[in-house]
Each structure stands twice: as structure tokens, then as C-alpha cells.
Symmetry: C3
Subunit: 346 residues, 3 copies
């Protein structure tokens, strides 16, 4: 059960070049490609003639040509060429999905195309600000539902158990963080303040903090699968004035979770270095630290998925630290229900 009338990240823009890219999204086989003018498109990855996947074909002047018998389709899915005959039947077309390129990402709309409004795509200008926020990005294939990865980011107390040796550190710091939460139309924002705390290993490696630090994490979840994160840290006491923009350590993370199937997803993520933007090594190092931590998440969440697939969630017990996660889930459930009953989700 997915929200369908919504924009999902389909790919990093630089993943799709001359060679068509197959990717299953919300359980549909999609082929992503660029026409000769460089415009990205997404079609059902199945030729309407004999069913061969279109990603085995190639882009020609006319569009995407099937690699089996040469039928060719434009970005709208219309068949524009059939070898051996002039007349092209009206039925000769494949389903097209709206695709928009924005902020280094290709966004795709899996629902009713008539409702696809590019103005509602999540904005993430930092991907374009290579001078002040140089970033590095990748995609992880995760064997869990997208929602379990969103869950993971809504309860940060896991940092003290899953990421002890990387971005976590002492469990108590995360359990005792002061948390402010604001609900929004399509999700929520929350900030977690850990003043006068011991820095985690990653932070010490990044900036060389000697003593205690003030630390903040700011998250925004926007349904169905975007999470925007700012993390800052400075010498203890520095946050007394509420200013965090100039934190000695500051970085941004983009998290885009896209369902592949009911129990697998794509995790598109980037790390943007705002604290030493002129040092490529700092950008690289930040990415590597986070990559190690996200592999720790992958291990536990994939194992969690296997248990939930087998035994279900009915017997599970919510605890106090689930508050943000539960609000996120209620938002998503509401959007799914609205979509099912025909109310506009956007």
C-alpha cells in the first residue's frame, strides 16, 4: 500500500545518461532514459508489442527503440515507429510516468498524471550550492519497506545502540535529548538539543573537539519519503544564544526513501559539507562516515523487515520515544486514506 499521487525520487540525475536505466518503483517496472535532447522520461519498462523490457533498447532520434523488434516510443509513451508498417495503431503505446529533474534528482509521479504538479516537489537547493554546501551522493538498495527506513529516522534514540562507534556515542545522550516538534501539512519538523554533551566518534574525527559540545539535529519529514536534516555542533555553551548557523561543525543530509516493492526500497542520500566547504577531503570524509553509519542501519532494518514479514506488527508495543514516528505514520496513513477515498492528496 503506497501513496501513489506523490513525487518520489526515481534516481540521481547523473544516474541516467545514454543507457536506459531499469528501476522498479512502487512495484512497477519503470525504464528511465533521456531523449537525444537530454530530457529525462519514465515509461513502463515493457514494449507493447511482445513484452520485452525497453531498457534493453536504445535511444534514437525518434525516441526509445525496443531492442527486440524495433518499435520506438517517445517520452509520452506514444509509439512513433513500427518497422515494416506505416500505420501505427492507437493502442500501440506504453504507460508514461511524469518525470521532473530538480536539485540533482529525478522525481517521478506514480499516480494519476493529471494530478502531477511539479510545484509540489520538495525543494532542496543545497544540492545546487556547490560553493557553500558541496555534497556527495549515492543510493543504497535496502531490503526493507521504505516506511521502516523512515521510522528509523524518526526515532533518533537508535543512534546510541546502532551507531555506537560512529555517529552515536553514549546512548543516554540521545534518550535525554530535549525535543521540539512542529506538525506540518505533509509531515513534521523536530529539533533535538544535546547541550553540554560528549561528542561522538564521528564528530571528534571531523572537527577535533577536545571537550564537551553543544549539539543539535533538525529534521523535517515530508510525505511520502523525503527527510531533510541539519546537524550542528559547537563548543559547549555556544548554543546559549540560539544561533546555530555558524556552528563549528555543520552538515546537511538529504534522505529520499522510495518504495521498490512492499518489502524493498531505494535509499537516496547525500551529505553536504557546510563546515569546511573548500576542503574536498572534508566532504569526502563526511560522506564516508555517514556511509558506514547507514550500513549499520541497513543491517538492523533489513533484519527487522524479515521478522515483520513473518510475524506481523500486531503484538508490538509503542514506547515514549516513538512519538515523532507515530505522528509520521498517522500522516502517511491519512494520505493513503484520502487517496483511497478520492480526496486530492496534493
Amino acid at each position: 500500500m503506497f501513496i501513489r499521487n506523490a513525487w518520489y525520487v526515481a534516481a540521481w540525475a547523473d544516474e541516467v545518461g545514454e543507457t536506459p536505466l531499469p528501476r522498479r518503483i512502487c512495484n512497477e517496472p519503470v525504464v528511465l532514459f533521456r531523449d537525444v535532447a537530454g530530457n529525462a522520461a519514465g515509461l513502463l519498462d515493457m514494449c507493447c508489442h511482445r513484452g520485452a523490457p525497453l531498457h534493453l533498447g536504445q535511444v534514437t532520434e525518434r525516441g526509445l527503440a525496443c531492442g527486440y523488434h524495433g518499435l520506438t516510443f517517445d517520452r509520452s509513451g506514444r509509439c512513433v515507429h513500427i518497422p515494416g508498417q506505416d500505420r501505427i495503431p492507437e493502442r500501440a503505446r506504453v504507460r508514461a510516468f511524469p518525470v521532473v529533474e530538480q536539485d540533482a534528482l529525478l522525481w517521478i509521479w506514480m499516480g494519476d498524471p493529471a494530478k502531477a504538479d511539479p510545484a509540489t516537489i520538495v525543494s532542496y537547493p543545497w544540492h545546487n550550492d556547490t560553493a557553500r554546501w558541496p555534497h556527495k551522493h549515492t543510493m543504497y538498495s535496502i531490503k526493507s519497506a521504505a516506511m521502516l527506513m523512515v521510522d528509523n529516522l524518526m526515532d533518533l534514540t537508535h543512534l546510541g545502540y546502532v551507531h555506537t562507534s560512529t555517529i552515536g556515542g553514549n546512548p543516554l545522550i540521545h534518550v535525554e535529548a530535549k525535543m521540539d516538534t512542529v506538525r506540518t501539512a505533509f509531515g513534521l519538523k523536530f529539533s533535538r538539543w544535546m547541550l553540554n554533551s560528549v561528542p561522538p566518534p564521528t564528530y571528534m574525527r571531523a572537527v577535533g573537539f577536545q571537550g564537551r559540545i553543544d549539539r543539535v539535529q533538525m529534521f523535517e519529514f515530508i510525505a511520502p519519503g523525503a527527510i531533510l536534516q541539519f546537524s550542528g555542533a559547537d563548543e559547549a555553551g555556544a548554543y546559549g544564544d540560539g544561533k546555530i548557523e555558524d556552528s563549528k561543525l555543520r552538515f546537511r543530509l538529504f534522505h529520499g526513501l522510495t518504495p521498490e516493492t512492499d518489502t524493498t526500497c531505494f535509499y537516496f542520500w547525500s551529505t553536504a559539507n557546510g563546515f569546511r566547504p573548500n576542503e574536498a577531503a572534508a566532504t569526502e570524509s563526511l560522506f564516508n562516515e555517514i556511509a558506514a553509519a547507514f550500513n549499520e542501519d541497513r543491517t538492523v532494518v533489513e533484519a527487522q523487515q524479515a521478522r515483520l514479514t513473518e510475524l506481523g506488527e500486531a503484538a508490538l508495543v509503542d514506547i515514549a520515544t516513538d512519538a515523532a514516528r507515530l505522528h509520521m505514520r498517522r500522516t502517511v496513513d491519512r494520505l493513503i486514506a484520502e487517496e483511497a477515498t478520492g480526496l486530492a492528496a496534493q
Copy 2:
């Protein structure tokens, strides 16, 4: 849904020696073996005692002995020995499938044994004519329904898209080929003439054609899974008199498609060199060129199967070049229907 009252290729005769060979055919686990006299046989690959596969056993003077507790079966599936007891119960037998060795192939009948007439087996004498048609053969396991591989051979326009760098060449040549079709009791024959055309890479490598060529492909499909092919080529103009027997380049291909399961099959094929029969290198080279081409087919047809398994064929659109394929399908559908309603298929 398979035609069952029909002869399928079970194996190349030289695949079955002293060691029993397990092979799933039409979704039945079969063990192929030769008794001590060298006569080939096919039994259900499951001992009637405790269900162990008989292919783990060994051939003795008495027949095929199970490798678990030693029960032994003759070629008719009758149990002829039970260690530890003299009386052999009537129920102690395994199902036997008629098997006939002919033209370097083992043919098997998966339906009603009473209807198995060896006279109806497809004849392919070129496998025995090692002087004028030396051949080389193999078997490919394909992850597609046998019918999709037959489809592939009924629409040769795919040569221009799938086999550009091998036996195909320019797509237009295949789309514009002049085609003669004749319907037969169990299939169809068709010839494809490409006069005054540019030779494909394989042909240039084989014979060293310098300029344009006359080219012909002659196919016969005989249900359920045999396709006999003659391919010829000569200098442009040579076919003006209708004679193709002495073509400068001439070779024969045997294609035998046998269902393993609903979505997998065995592709038995051979290449016979009729143009330089005294040169082993030419026989070898022809085989290697075709092997490369058939691996290209495998890639696209297996990908096609995956899509059809998921999304079905209902929305597909037939085009002009599907004519021979559609006649083949109607023949097979008619034979399945006749078998279902009890009419003799042979």
C-alpha cells in the same frame, strides 16, 4: 499448458552414457539412462520406495538401481529387484516414458504411451551425414517458456535489432525481406529472400563476400518444438535461376525447444556446415558465431519472460511481421485443444 501427446527432444544422444541424467521435461522430473545393452530409457526420477531420485543410482545388469536402498527398475519402469525380499509387489513400479534414439537425438513422449508412434518423430538426416553436413551441437538452458523461443524464430526481423553485430546486420534488410509462407498439418514453412543485400558480419567472416549478396532463409516449424532451418547466400544475382543448393555459403540449423517448466526450457541446437564440409575449422567457426547470436536471443527472451510472467500478454499489440508467429501459435493452440477434447493429435 503443454502438448503432451508429442515427441520432444529429451537430450542429445551423446549426453546419456553410464551415468543417469536427470532432466525435467514438461514439468515432470525424468531420469534418462542407458541399460547395459546401451538402450536409452526414461523413467520418472523418483524411486517408488522412499522417493529418492533415481539419477543418484547406478545402472546394473538388472537395470537402474536406486542409490538409497537398492530397488532396481528395468526400462519399462517395472521393479525387478528388492534387496531383502523375494516377492515384488505389483505396485512397485515407476512411470516410464517412451524414448527413441534417432538422428543423434533422444526423443521422449510425455503423453499417453499407447499413442506414441516413432514414425511421427521429426526426421533430420543431416545429423548423420557427417561427410557432406558435418555438424556440432549443444543445449542451452533458457529461463523462458519454450514458446517464446519458438516465437523468436518465427519473426526474423529481430535479427536487425538483437543480432546487429553477428548474423543480423542492417535492420531494414530483414523488414523488407520477401516472404513465402506455406501452411502444413503440424506447422508451417516459410522462405525469406533478401536479394542484392549487404552481407551481415557473420557471413563476411565465414566466406569473405566482397560486395552485395543474394540471401535466403528457409524455415520449417513442426509442432510442438522443432524448427528446421536452411540458410544460403551467394554473390548478388546468383539466385536469379532459383537454384540455392550450391550456394557459396550454406548451412543448416536444427532447433529443438523442449519445455522444462512453464517458464523455462531446453534449447537443443546444431549447426551443420554444408559449404566447407572438409574443413573442421569452418564447422567450428560457424558453431561459434551462432552460439554468440543465440546468447543474444537468450538475454532478450529471458527478460521478456520476466515481464510476461509479471504483467501478462493481454495488453500486447500484434504487428505486420507477426504473421508467421501467429500462425504457429494458432497451430499449437489447436493441437492443445484437440488433445484436451480427446481427438488424436497424431
Copy 3:
């Protein structure tokens, strides 16, 4: 369909140390661990908070802490710590399975805990008698139902077909063995006498027998999955007086079969060297010979399972040598039926 009110081998005691061990038993995911005092325990391997497997966690002073958000459970499955809150809800618990450590094994009870009586655990004191019966042990994961492995041990005529080159030797010896059988409350005992017989390869390698031997195998099956074996051999004629305790070659095998799923199981087995107890090389060599033989069993039984999964057992035919196996099966079926109708199985 498993007997549930019974003790199964869950692990060798030395398999479970500081790191929790996941193991599926009777189709339930179990985590085995030891608390800081060294006491073994078994819990459902799924945290009651978000479903993460507990085997990814770690043992602390308080118990087993989940590796995701830190909830901690004692050996009874009670939650004793929730990070971030003081009140622990009554529902916060995971299912616990009774576990007992005895004779180098961890035994687990998968049924009603109120019926779990440690006094009914199979006794195997030889695992503790390192002076006179030094042993070596291991566990094989087998892709067959546990019952098929028990079957295998109830019809020893398979030695002449499966183990020709190891512990078997000439098939006729096993078919003609004189067999005494005694029925017991939870199974049966049988002895197989092979007097004045040719020694199998393993025996010749172990003791260097030159001529014919007297040979005996004594088996006891105790439902649901324990088989205790004594094997002896001596110069031909030595068993005339009925004494076997001082056999020149004598060893004991423990076989514990535990269902993992309906079609996979764990095979816990040990070999105890009673003939050269002071020679570590003899203990090692005995183990290696048996390990080779049990891999031969694995091959045939896994192949048997595949056939039975596909085609069922309905058409199979029992033979004379199935007598002990059939009694074993009737015992197990009776215990399953008694359990289903609420009669005490113990």
C-alpha cells in the same frame, strides 16, 4: 506438523557464548544466549517494540538488550529496561522457551512451558565421560525434514548403497543382518548382528582388521528426535559369548534431529571413541570418517526431500526392511495425535 511438547536439541552448549545465537526451531525464530551468570536461555528472536531480531543485541548486566533502541529482556522474556521511560508496560515481554543445559547440549521445549519437565530429557552421560569415551561433535544443516533423517537411521540397509566406500561395504551384509527389535514407550531399540562378515573400509582403516569380523549395531530411538547408537566389531567368533563391551572396535554416536522448518532440520551429532580413548588421533579419525559418511546421507536425503515436496508420499511402497522405520513413524504419529487431542505427551 511437529511434536511440540518435547525436548529438542537447540544447540551444542559450546555454541552459545557471549554472542546471542539465532536459530529457527520448529519454525519459530529463537535467540539463544547466556546471561552474565552463564545461564542459557531461549527467547523469541523479535523485540516486542519494533520487531528487530534480538540476536543483533548484546547481553548486559540486566539481560539481553535489543540492538535497535535498547529494550532489555531477562531470561523469562520480561522487559526489565526501556530507555527513556520508567514505567514498563505489562505487555512489554517476549515469549520465552524453557532451556536446559545437559550432557554438553542445550535442550529446548517448544510447547506448553507448564509441561516442560527436565527429568524427561534424554540422558547421554558419555558426553561427560571424557576419559573413557572422548568425543567430538558438530551440527549439520540439512535441507530435509527431520523425520527423513530419522527414517534414514531406522533402515540401515542404506549403508550398502549410500556408504559403499565408507562405513557400508558390501550391500548384502546389511540386508542379511540378524535384527532384534524392542518397542519402548517413546520409540524402539534394535540390534543388528553381522557375524563373520567382511569389514567395511572405515573399520579396516580404524583397527586394521585382517580377516572377517563379528559386527553389531545397537540403536535406540527416543521421540521426537534422539537416536543413541553403539557400534562394535571384533575378530570373527568373538561375539559367540554375547559379550560386546570389550569389542576391539567400539564407538558411540549421538544423533539429535531438530526441525528447523517443515523441510529443513539441524543434525546434531557426536562420535565417541571407546576403543582407543587415550589416542586423540583415533578420536579425530573416527569423527572424520563419520563426517564423510553423513555427507553422503545428506546428498541423498536432501534429494529425496525435493521429490517428496513436489510429488508427495502417497504412491510410495513399503518393503520388508522398513519395519523399524514404520514403527518409529507410528510412534511419532501417535504422539502428535495425543498432543492434538490434549492428552499429556509426557
